[in-house]
C-alpha cells in the first residue's frame, strides 16, 4: 500500500514516549521496594508504601500498553527481544507479580507482614535489575538471522548487562528516595535525604562506565559520537547538569527539586541512548523500518491509541492530584 505518511515514525515516537513514561513513573515506586530492606523500621516502610500505593498500578499501565503496542507496531522487536531475554522476562514478570500482590496483601496482613515485605523488596529489585539488563542487552545488540533470534539463552547476561542492571537498580532507588523526600516529612524524609547523595554517586559511576565502555565495543556508537561534535553532545551535558542540580538541591534540603532533577537526569540519559542507536531498533541489523508491521495494522491500532492515551493521561493526572501532598503512615487497619 502507498503510505500517505510515515506511520512507523509516529509509532516509534509513541513507543519511545511510553517507555519513558514507564521508566520515570514505575521507577520511583520500584525504588520504594529496592530501599525497603534498608528502612530502619516498619513505620518507614508504611510511609514508603503508602506514598506509591495509589499510583503504582497506573504506572505499570505503561508497561503493558508498551508491550502490546510493540507487538502491533514493531513485531520484530517483540519477536527478537522476548526470546533473547527469555529468562530475564520470566524474572521480570515474577518480580512484578510478587510486588504487585504484596501491595494488595501487606495492608491486610498482620503476622505475615514480614513475608510481604520480602515479596515487595525482592520483587521490586529483581524487576528493576531485569529492566536494566534489557537496556544493556539492547546496547549490546542481538544475534539474528533472517528476522529470527539465533543466540543462546544467556547471551543477555554479560558483565556489561550486570552493570546496566545494577545501574538501573541504583537509578530507581534514587528516583524512589527523591520521591520520598517530596512525599514525606520528619524522620522518614531525613532518612531519604541521607540516602539520596550516595545513590546519586552510584548512578554517576555506572553512567560513566557505560559512556566510556559503549563506544569502545560498538563502532557504530563511536562513529555517532566522535565523528565531529554535533548537537547530541548537549544530551550528556544536560544529564550532568541535572545531576548537579540533584546534588545541590539535596544539600539545600529542597523538597521537590531533587525528584524533578532526577527525572531530568533519566530523561537526558534516555535520549542520549536513543541518539546513540538511532535508527536501529533491533541492533545491530534492523532499523525501525525493518521492524515495523504493515501500514494498515499500524493505522488500525493508532486510532485506538489516540483515543486511550489522553484518557490514561487524564486519569493519571487526576490520581496524582487526588493523592497530592504529604503521606502519613496511618490510615489503614
Amino acid at each position: 500500500m502507498e503510505q500517505p505518511f510515515d506511520l512507523t515514525l509516529i509509532w516509534a515516537g509513541i513507543i519511545a514516549f511510553g517507555v519513558m513514561m514507564y521508566v520515570l513513573m514505575d521507577g520511583f515506586d520500584l525504588g520504594q521496594g529496592i530501599l525497603f530492606p534498608f528502612a530502619p523500621d516498619e513505620h518507614h516502610r508504611d510511609v514508603m508504601m503508602n506514598s506509591v500505593a495509589p499510583v503504582w498500578d497506573g504506572n505499570e499501565t505503561w508497561l503493558v500498553l508498551g508491550g502490546a503496542g510493540l507487538l502491533a507496531a514493531f513485531p520484530l522487536v517483540y519477536a527478537v527481544f522476548l526470546p533473547a531475554l527469555y529468562i530475564g522476562v520470566f524474572l521480570l514478570l515474577a518480580g512484578l507479580i510478587f510486588r504487585g500482590v504484596a501491595f494488595e496483601f501487606r495492608f491486610k496482613a498482620k503476622t505475615s507482614k514480614y513475608l510481604w515485605n520480602w515479596a515487595f523488596a525482592g520483587g521490586s529489585t529483581v524487576a528493576a535489575f531485569a529492566q536494566g539488563a534489557v537496556v544493556g542487552a539492547y546496547i549490546q545488540g542481538f544475534k539474528t538471522e533472517n528476522f529470527r533470534y539465533v543466540g543462546g539463552a544467556l547471551d543477555w547476561l554479560t558483565p556489561f548487562t550486570v552493570i546496566t542492571g545494577l545501574g538501573l537498580v541504583a537509578g530507581y532507588a534514587l528516583l524512589g528516595a527523591t520521591w520520598l523526600i517530596m512525599k514525606s516529612e520528619g524522620e522518614v524524609q531525613q532518612w531519604a535525604y541521607k540516602l539520596a547523595p550516595r545513590l546519586l554517586l552510584m548512578v554517576l559511576v555506572v553512567f560513566a562506565v557505560i559512556s566510556v565502555y559503549t563506544p569502545f565495543v560498538d563502532p557504530f556508537v563511536k562513529q555517532r559520537w566522535f565523528s565531529g561534535f554535533s548537537a547530541i553532545w548537549l544530551l550528556p551535558l544536560l544529564a550532568l547538569y541535572c545531576a548537579y542540580v540533584v546534588f545541590s538541591s539535596l544539600r539545600k534540603q529542597h523538597e521537590g527539586m531533587p525528584f524533578v532533577a532526577t527525572m531530568g537526569l533519566f530523561l537526558f540519559t534516555y535520549l542520549g541512548l536513543l541518539a546513540s542507536k538511532w535508527p536501529y531498533m533491533v541492533p545491530p541489523n534492523y532499523t525501525l523500518y525493518d521492524a515495523a508491521s504493515a501500514f494498515e495494522s499500524q493505522l488500525f491500532l493508532l486510532l485506538g491509541f489516540l483515543f486511550v492515551i489522553p484518557i490514561v493521561l487524564t486519569y493519571t493526572a487526576w490520581t496524582y492530584w487526588v493523592f497530592r501532598g504529604k503521606v502519613k503512615a496511618g490510615g489503614y487497619h
Binding site: 503508602n50 500505593a53 495509589p54 503504582w56 498500578d57 499501565t61 503493558v64 500498553l65 508491550g67 502490546a68 507487538l71 502491533a72 507496531a73 513485531p75 520484530l76 517483540y78 519477536a79 527478537v80 527481544f81 522476548l82 526470546p83 533473547a84 527469555y86 529468562i87 522476562v89 520470566f90 514478570l93 515474577a94 507479580i97 504487585g100 500482590v101 501491595f103 494488595e104 496483601f105 491486610k108 496482613a109 498482620k110 505475615s112 528476522f147 529470527r148 533470534y149 539465533v150 539463552a153 508491521s293 504493515a294 494498515e296 495494522s297 488500525f300 491500532l301 485506538g304 491509541f305 483515543f307 486511550v308 484518557i311 490514561v312 486519569y315 503521606v327 490510615g331 489503614y332 487497619h333
Partner: protein, 465 residues
C-alpha cells in the same frame, strides 16, 4: 531423556491459560449479575438488593485483581515461547490484543473505580451506569480475545506475504467462521458460571441460616438464570459443534472417538481411545446416535480420523474425554435447573438440604466445564496452531531449548502456587465474611489508602475479622 521445548511450551501455555481463564469467565458473568442487582436496587429502592450488591462487588474485586495479574503473563507468552507465530500473525494479533488492553484500561480508568468505591460519592444512577459499563466492558474485552482465538481455529481475512500475514479484510479477520458460535457459547458459559457460584454460595449461607431473606433472593435469581441458560447452552453447544464439523472435521472425529469415516456412526458413552492401534477399547455405545446428532440423519456420514495421517491427528484420548466431561457438567446443570424448578413449584427450593448441598458442589462445575471445553477446542486443533496453515512446531520460538522451557514452566508453577493460593485463601475469607461483613460500616475511613480492586474487600488476611 531429551527435553522437548515444544511439549514443554505447550504444557506451560496450557497451565498459564487454564489458570488465567477461570478468573475472567467468572468476572464477566458476575459483572452482569452486579449490574442486575444495581438496576433492581435503583428501580425498587428495596435495600436488600444493595446489600447483596455490596457483597458481590467485593468478590468481583478480588477475582478481577487475580485475573489481571495472571493475564499479564499471558501477553508475554506469545513472544517468549511462540515468537514465530507472533511474528507471522503480528499484523492481526498485535492490534487485536492491544485493543483488548485498551478496553481493559479504559474500563478500569473510567468505571471500575466508581463501581468499587463510588457508591456514597456519586448519584445512584451514575453508580448503576458504571456497573453496566463494567459489565459491557468485560464483554468487549472477551470479544477481542475470542476473535483472536477464532482466527486460529478458522482463519480468514488474511493473506500470507513473505512469511507474514497481512490483513486484507478486518471484518473477515475479526469475524471468522467460528467466531459467533464461540462468542455466544462463552458468553453463556460466563453467565452460567456466575449463576452457579452465586447459587452455591447463597445455598451455603442459607444452610447456615445467615441473612436468610437476602441470600434467598440471590438464590432465586441464580436459579432462574440457570433454568433459562443451561438448556440454551446445550442448544448453542450443538450449533457450535456443527460449525466445528464443517470447518475442523478432525476435531469432531476426535471428540466422537471415530477412527473410520462411516455412515450410521454410534455415540460412544465410554471408550479408551488408543492412538497407537487407531481404535477404541471397551466401547459402550448407542447405535447411530452420533450420526443423528451431527448430521440430523440416522445414517449420515461422519468423518473419521483415518482421513489424515496419524501424526496429523489431534490427541484423541484428551479430546474425547474432555468433551465428555464438559457435556456431563452441562447435563448436570440442566438437571439441577429442573430440580430447582420442581422445588420452586412446591415453594421449597430454599428448604431442601440435599438440593442446597448439591448446589454447593455444583459451584465448581462451571469451572470444570469451561476448562474441559477449552481443552477440547485447543487440543482438538492440534497439530495446528493456525488451523491448516501453521503447526505448533512451526510457531515455536526457534532459539528456545528444552532446559529454558523447563525452567520457566517450573518457575510459573511455583509463582502461581504461592501467589494464587494466597489469593484464593483470601477470597474464601471474603466468602466467609458474607453479606453481613460487606455491609458493616468500617471503623476507620481509609483516607490514604490505595484504591486498588482488593481495597474494595475488607477482610484481613489472618484471624477471623
Amino acid at each position: 531423556m531429551e527435553l522437548d521445548p515444544l511439549l514443554l511450551s505447550r504444557l506451560q501455555f496450557a497451565f498459564v491459560v487454564c489458570f488465567h481463564a477461570i478468573f475472567p469467565v467468572f468476572t464477566i458473568g458476575l459483572a452482569s449479575f452486579i449490574a442486575v442487582l444495581e438496576a433492581l436496587s435503583f428501580r425498587t429502592g428495596n435495600p436488600v438488593w444493595q446489600k447483596l450488591s455490596k457483597f458481590w462487588i467485593q468478590v468481583f474485586a478480588v477475582v478481577f485483581g487475580m485475573g489481571v495479574v495472571s493475564g499479564i503473563v499471558m501477553s508475554f507468552q506469545f513472544g517468549t515461547n511462540w515468537s514465530n507465530f507472533s511474528y507471522a500473525t503480528a499484523n492481526f494479533l498485535g492490534p487485536v490484543l492491544s485493543y483488548e488492553v485498551i478496553t481493559a484500561f479504559f474500563l478500569e480508568a473510567a468505571f471500575l473505580g466508581v463501581l468499587l468505591f463510588g457508591r456514597d460519592k456519586v448519584p445512584q444512577g451514575v453508580h448503576l451506569f458504571a456497573a453496566i459499563m463494567v459489565a459491557l466492558g468485560t464483554f468487549i474485552s472477551s470479544f477481542w480475545i475470542l476473535s483472536a482465538n477464532s482466527l486460529m481455529q478458522t482463519p480468514g481475512g488474511l493473506e500470507l506475504r513473505n512469511g507474514m500475514y497481512h490483513v486484507v479484510s478486518w471484518s473477515e479477520a475479526l469475524f471468522t467462521a467460528s467466531f459467533t458460535y464461540r462468542f455466544i457459547h462463552m458468553a453463556l458459559a460466563s453467565f452460567l458460571t456466575a449463576a452457579l457460584v452465586v447459587a452455591g454460595v447463597s445455598a451455603w449461607f442459607i444452610l447456615q441460616k445467615r441473612e436468610f431473606d437476602t441470600n434467598r433472593k440471590a438464590l432465586s435469581i441464580a436459579l432462574w438464570m440457570l433454568l433459562l441458560l443451561a438448556p440454551l447452552q446445550v442448544v448453542i453447544g450443538d450449533f457450535h459443534g456443527l460449525n466445528t464439523l464443517k470447518h475442523q472435521p478432525m476435531k469432531v472425529a476426535a471428540m466422537e472417538g471415530n477412527w473410520q469415516t462411516a455412515n450410521g456412526v454410534p455415540l460412544l458413552l465410554f471408550a479408551i481411545p488408543d492412538q497407537q492401534t487407531q481404535s477404541n477399547h471397551f466401547e459402550v455405545k448407542i447405535p447411530k446416535l452420533a450420526s443423528y446428532v451431527l448430521t440430523h440423519d440416522w445414517n449420515g456420514e461422519v468423518p473419521g480420523l483415518n482421513e489424515v495421517a496419524a501424526e496429523m491427528q489431534p490427541p484423541v484420548f484428551i479430546v474425547f474425554w474432555s468433551f465428555r466431561i464438559m457435556v456431563a457438567m452441562g447435563l448436570l446443570m440442566v438437571l439441577f435447573a429442573l430440580w430447582g424448578l420442581v422445588l420452586r413449584y412446591k415453594a421449597k427450593y430454599h428448604q431442601s438440604r440435599s438440593f442446597l448441598q448439591g448446589l454447593r458442589l455444583m459451584s465448581l462445575s462451571p469451572f470444570i466445564a469451561v476448562l474441559a471445553g477449552w481443552i477440547v477446542t485447543e487440543s482438538g486443533r492440534a497439530p495446528w496452531l493456525i488451523y491448516g496453515q501453521m503447526t505448533h512446531a512451526e510457531g515455536l520460538t526457534p532459539s528456545l531449548t528444552g532446559a529454558m522451557a523447563l525452567f520457566t514452566l517450573i518457575g510459573y508453577i511455583v509463582v502461581y502456587a504461592l501467589v494464587f493460593s494466597a489469593g484464593v485463601y483470601y477470597l474464601l475469607k471474603v466468602f466467609r465474611g458474607g453479606v453481613e461483613k460487606a455491609n458493616r460500616p468500617h471503623e476507620q475511613e481509609e483516607v490514604e489508602r490505595a484504591k486498588r480492586p482488593f481495597s474494595a474487600a475488607h477482610a484481613s488476611l489472618e484471624g477471623d475479622n
